[in-house]
Symmetry: D2
Subunit: 139 residues, 4 copies
């Protein structure tokens, strides 16, 4: 895997420029080579009801985390081609969600990322896998 082409600080800042990312409150906790740790803070905005985090918010977190793992290789977010989410247990109110995303494959036309979502205490919430399009101007 090539050296990280992204300016990490610029990539970190970029996540909160997107309106929908901002609604979710997404933050980049860590970025590395083909690796991203994204935080979605607890809050009423991501809830399905008083008891459960909305699965759609968890899916969005997975999409973004995988994208940021790929983005470390290209310096910017890339289009998602498809994504799959398996929900393991329900997210609880009052606890942040962390998404640990890792590149599985960096390909000429598509890249694959694996994402694990959990509460800070370690409770597994969901796993996801997504496919991202390689930018046409990538060397």
């Amino acid at each position: 895997m090539s050296a990280m082409k992204a300016d990490p600080e610029e990539l970190k800042a970029r996540i909160s420029r997107g309106p929908f990312n901002q609604i979710l409150g997404l933050q980049v906790d860590e970025l590395g080579e083909g690796y991203a740790l994204i935080r979605m803070p607890a809050g009423p905005n991501i809830m399905a009801n008083e008891r459960y985090v909305h699965g759609g918010a968890i899916g969005a977190l997975i999409d973004v985390a995988g994208d940021w793992a790929v983005a470390t290789q290209y310096g910017r977010p890339v289009p998602t081609i498809d994504m799959r989410v398996d929900f393991l247990s329900s997210g609880r109110p009052g606890e942040d969600l962390l998404a640990d995303a890792r590149l599985v494959k960096l390909g000429r036309s598509v890249s694959v990322a694996d994402v694990r979502v959990f509460h800070p205490g370690g409770k597994a919430i969901a796993v996801g896998r997504a496919l991202y399009s390689t930018p046409v101007d990538a060397e």
Copy 2:
């Protein structure tokens, strides 16, 4: 497939009670036997940037639409087990998104729904397939 067990008006009203659904602005346009048409109105809140609707918002719409198609059989939303989303083209600003969801299988322990997302003019945006858990108290 059994007769619709849900009170359609109650189910329609219920969608906007969830905080995250409310942020997405979700509305039930139609409900039928194993069928739901859900609308996500255009607006700055669902955008990734000025040009594209966020894929995570589209994924959330698919999750909810499939859920509502299953909900027509049980009278209430059900837990999502897993989902897959394929993005076909990017959603444009200023145009609502419609999700047409249909039951593929109503099973003793799991149900499958197929969802098609498009702009009102007909442009295909995404397709999704999701699995939902059958309520334990379902006859």
Copy 3:
């Protein structure tokens, strides 16, 4: 969608040249623009045990059928990038399986196909969705 670039007779013949396709007994029943109907004949070779068709054989049938639907546009089979299979009910011994595959999207770098597997009498067995790589020399 462009006119069918494949010689249908050549494509039909090609399916049984592959050793694994031959073991499955795959035959092309119909080919059209972005459409393929593939038959996997009943037989002991595709069984998990005396009662059920093996899910892996059904998955392989889905992979091939989607591929042949895309192949009508390029004149030859294309690499599969990913696939998802949902099993709806178990395949019965003594009955052929038919896979109806249709192009959902023909893209510059990837194509999407939807596949429905059923017994000739109509009983739904599985649905699948797969992504295929566009040949680099495609115009």
Copy 4:
């Protein structure tokens, strides 16, 4: 996770009783708590053509490996509900394929397994994730 309920030797022997498993030549190399390592030997039977292993054979290997990882908890194979496969690089002729399958979740109604397929030298070929139905008589 409960103690392994399966007789490992009986489970290992069982894999080659299924006709389709036998065609694929599947063997259990290792079994542990929620873990299975399944081998699909190189051979002409699993090839798409002279150069590539058939994706359908790889998908079948993933289905079976995940099933055997779950089977260590119930003493017998269980029905697959759905499966997803991402192909990372093409399988080469003359090299066995190994599938390392691990339980991600053992649930009351469904279980999730993760599978990694590789050549003995370590080359990654595919990753898969599948959902299996919990036997109704499981405690």
